[in-house]
């Protein structure tokens, strides 16, 4: 009789920890998914920039420096590794882009260019996508981190690494480039 009870308790405990383990795996996968979505959107932004620079070149002849800055920031952002470094590089790229869009205000011909307008919309949307992907990733990462730290999950979560949050370090990065019309 006692053997049965002990056995039952042990089985229940094992099942309980299996449940916790699976929950941790699920939360980690959710966070990983979120991160890959950010990656996709950052790449989308990097792909849009050469087109934008190409379109603007003809109109903004005296602003080579600004264009150069955008191109350099893009190259640096492509080379960045890991959330912390990427956050910094993307912040600089965002700042360079908003500087560029502010300058483009002085060129009415450029602003009337259909191609430029649609690129502007795509870039603004990409900024939003990065923002929302980051929001979803950070929520998932926080959930996962909480799950692995609370007792009793902390007893078995040794092999689960803490997820890094993704913060973009530059004011104005999170918002759409401000453009007055």
């Amino acid at each position: 009789m006692w053997v049965l009870i002990v056995l039952g308790v042990v089985v229940a405990a094992v099942l309980y920890f299996v449940g916790i383990y699976n929950g941790l795996i699920r939360a980690r996968n959710q966070a990983k998914n979120g991160w890959s979505q950010i990656d996709v959107q950052l790449k989308r932004r990097h792909d849009l920039i050469p087109n934008l620079v190409e379109t603007a070149k003809g109109y903004m002849k005296h602003e080579q420096q600004t264009l150069e800055k955008v191109v350099q920031a893009r190259t640096a952002a492509i080379g960045a590794k890991g959330p912390a470094e990427a956050g910094k590089a993307e912040g600089l790229l965002g700042a360079a882009l908003s500087g560029f869009f502010a300058l483009s205000e002085r060129y009415p011909d450029l602003k009337a260019n259909q191609n430029f307008l649609s690129l502007q919309e795509e870039l603004a949307s990409t900024e939003n996508r990065i923002g929302f992907a980051r929001q979803a990733y950070n929520d998932a990462a926080t959930t996962y981190n909480n799950k692995r730290e609370v007792f009793p999950a902390s007893l078995i979560s040794g092999s689960f690494e803490q997820a890094e949050l993704f913060e973009i370090e530059a004011p104005g990065e999170r918002s759409v480039p401000k453009v007055e019309f």
């Binding site: 998914n33 919309e121 795509e122 949307s125 480039p177 453009v179 019309f181």
Partner: protein, 405 residues
């Protein structure tokens, strides 16, 4: 991340079960009425379940395309209306949907939007041209996020399931009551039969009472369920966008128009963002028979979400306005409170450009092409069948350029 809707899922399962019990009870009542024995009741109950299963199978099997076809919605591509498609894709990312929904446009001046799709891999968001005409980007985002909230919370399957159940119960009750009307009452018939007794008379009385009450009860449950899911989709919208003001201001704009929507049925009504008005119907005050909660309440709740956009923030705001809770304190441990964001930058184009973009998007999605006048620059939009029959510009009689899609 979706812990917060788990308790609501349980609650919805309970509601659907309660409706199932009502359905079987109505079936048994009808069975007892036709043949007041135990076998009659069992046969009636099984018949009710079969009726429901068949109807549900038809509703699920025929898929989302029926509703889309009924409303005349057309699928658009990215280049037809970049802003709308971008906003939908942004919200799909915020909601972590595995796949961005397809985007459809309905050519209807009444501003409204709906979502369909049971399979998360293949979902659809549809908006009317009237909606695109009056909303700015932040407002559009709020509305799309509400629809994606319906998708994420699995409301589409739930509403179909429950809606079909109500339909079955109504059919059963009508059958029973009509039979009663034409036969002049089962009680009298049973009284004349040789083996009548008091027990049977009581069973028959209960059966008739059930047949009268079941459809009313089922509809009350159904509408309460639908209103609840509407609030939850609002909460999801605030959470995805981190900007409840967008949806609040959109709802206000929607409530100030009184253009009736052309085609809606009672079953599909819960999928719209605001209750679709039918022709000749007036926007009435709150009632137990409404699929949607009053817009004024929804706006006030969204606007009282001071300082946060999480489910907990919505829950507290809901409590302030309606005096009770909706999400449930225990189920919002995660995503309880998250900071709000700032409104987006001013966008290009006024209401006029928006209106043109909206109708152009629908026209190109319907296969219309453009011929540009060489003299005055007017753009003539025409379906392929008419494009060749136009020889001169209708405005200046100038030459029309080639037809482009």
């Amino acid at each position: 991340m979706w812990e917060q809707i788990r308790s609501n899922r349980r609650r919805s399962a309970f509601v659907v079960t309660a409706m199932g019990v009502l359905l079987v009870a109505a079936g048994m009542a009808l069975g007892a009425y036709v043949n007041p024995t135990f076998t009659g009741m069992v046969v009636g109950g099984i018949a009710a379940l079969v009726l429901w299963l068949v109807q549900w199978g038809v509703a699920v099997g025929s898929g989302d395309d029926i509703m889309l076809r009924m409303t005349g919605a057309r699928q658009i591509r990215h280049e037809d209306h970049p802003i709308l498609v971008n906003v939908v894709e942004e919200m799909a990312i915020a909601a972590q949907l595995p796949q961005a929904p397809r985007v459809f446009i309905v050519d209807d001046p009444s501003p409204n939007a709906f979502a369909v799709g049971r399979d998360p891999q293949k979902t659809t968001v549809a908006v009317t041209t009237g909606l695109l005409r009056i909303l700015d980007r932040d407002e559009l985002q709020g509305v799309i996020a509400h629809e994606i909230g319906h998708i994420k919370n699995r409301d589409v399957s739930l509403i179909t399931l429950a809606g079909v159940m109500v339909g079955s119960i109504v059919i059963l009750a009508e059958l029973g009551l009509r039979a009663l009307w034409y036969s002049g009452g089962g009680l009298r018939r049973s009284r004349t039969s040789s083996n009548r007794d008091g027990g049977q008379a009581i069973i028959l009385l209960v059966a008739i009472l059930l047949l009268i009450l079941a459809p009313i009860l089922a509809q009350l449950i159904y509408f309460a369920l639908s209103r609840r899911r509407e609030f939850l989709a609002d909460a999801s919208s605030a959470f995805f966008t981190r900007y409840p003001e967008g949806l609040a201001s959109a709802l206000e704009k929607l409530s100030s128009t009184h253009t009736p929507l052309t085609d809606t049925s009672r079953v599909t009504a819960p999928m719209y963002i605001v209750r679709p008005l039918r022709k000749g119907q007036k926007m009435s005050a709150t009632s137990a028979f409404a699929t949607h909660p009053p817009i004024a309440d929804r706006v006030r709740i969204l606007r009282s979400m001071a300082g946060g956009a999480g489910f907990g923030d919505y829950d507290r705001a809901f409590g302030k306005i309606r005096g009770r809770r909706i999400v449930g304190e225990h189920s919002i441990a995660e995503a309880a409170s998250v900071p709000l964001r700032q409104p987006a930058a001013a966008e290009q184009g006024g209401p006029r450009e928006r209106a043109r973009e909206a109708s152009d998007a629908f026209l190109t999605a319907s296969g219309y092409g453009v011929r540009t006048c060489a003299d005055c620059g007017a753009k003539v939009k025409a379906p392929p069948s008419l494009a060749d029959r136009l020889d001169a510009c209708p405005r200046c009689d100038g030459d029309l350029g080639p037809w482009t899609e």
